[in-house]
Amino acid sequence: MSARVQTAPFDLTAELRDFGGGAGAVVTFTGIVRDDTGRMVALELEHYPGMTEAAMSDYGTEAARRFDLTDWRIVHRYGRLAVGEQIMFVATAARHRRAAFDAADYLMDWLKSRAPFWKREIAADGRADWVEAKAGDEDALRRW
C-alpha cells in the first residue's frame, strides 16, 4: 500500500513482486505518453512536492476502504517524458476481480483531476503548451 512520485521509469514485474497480500485478482493501469497531434515529442510534468504524495496516499487509502482491497500501489512520474514512455501506474489487488477493476478505475478518475500534476506538451520546434483539463474528467468523479 504505497504511493510514490519519481522521475525514473518503473518496471511492472518489480512493482508486482510481493504485491497483492493474498489476493485472487490484480489489475494494473499504465498510462503512456501518446502523440495525438503528430507534432508532439514529449510531455513535461510539474507537480506539487509534498501534496502530491499525500493526495495519492489519501485516494489509495479511500479506495482500499471502499473496495476492500488487499493491496494497492500508485507510481506517478514527473519531469520530461518522451512519446512512448510510461507516465504512471496504478495497481489494485482484491479477492474478486470486480473489486480490483472498480478500484483501479476509481483511482484513475481521482488521480486525473485531483492529484496535483500539470502537463505541458512539447512540440518538435520547442514550443510548449499547457494541457487543459477535460470537462469529462470532472464528470467522471460523479460516477463514484
Binding site: Y48, L111, K112, R114, W118, W130
Partner: protein, 83 residues
C-alpha cells in the same frame, strides 16, 4: 498573518515566480486572491479567470470560500491534468 503562497503551471509563469511570502489579514481564500490581484498586472492577469484557478491550503484542496485560519501555505494552480 504571514503566508507562503505557491504557484504552479501557467499561474507560476504569469506571476513570474514559484512562491512568495505575503502578509495578509484575509479571512478567506477569496479575500487573499483580491489582495494578490491588486498587487500588479502579472498577479491581476493570473487571477483574471477564477474558473481556471484551483487552491490548496496546507496541501489540501479547498473551495475559494475556505477560511485561512491557522493556514501557513496556500497554493494556486490551474485544474489538474495528471494521470
Amino acid at each position: 498573518m504571514t503566508l507562503e503562497v505557491l504557484y504552479f503551471a501557467w499561474l507560476r509563469e504569469r506571476i513570474g515566480q514559484p512562491r512568495e511570502t505575503i502578509s495578509t489579514t484575509a479571512a478567506t481564500v477569496r479575500d487573499l486572491i483580491a489582495q494578490l490581484a491588486a498587487m500588479d498586472d502579472w498577479h491581476a492577469q493570473a487571477f483574471s479567470d477564477m474558473r481556471a484557478v484551483r487552491c490548496a491550503v496546507d496541501q489540501k484542496l479547498v473551495d475559494l470560500d475556505a477560511p485561512l485560519t491557522g493556514a501557513r501555505e496556500v497554493a494556486f494552480f490551474p485544474p489538474m491534468t495528471g494521470g
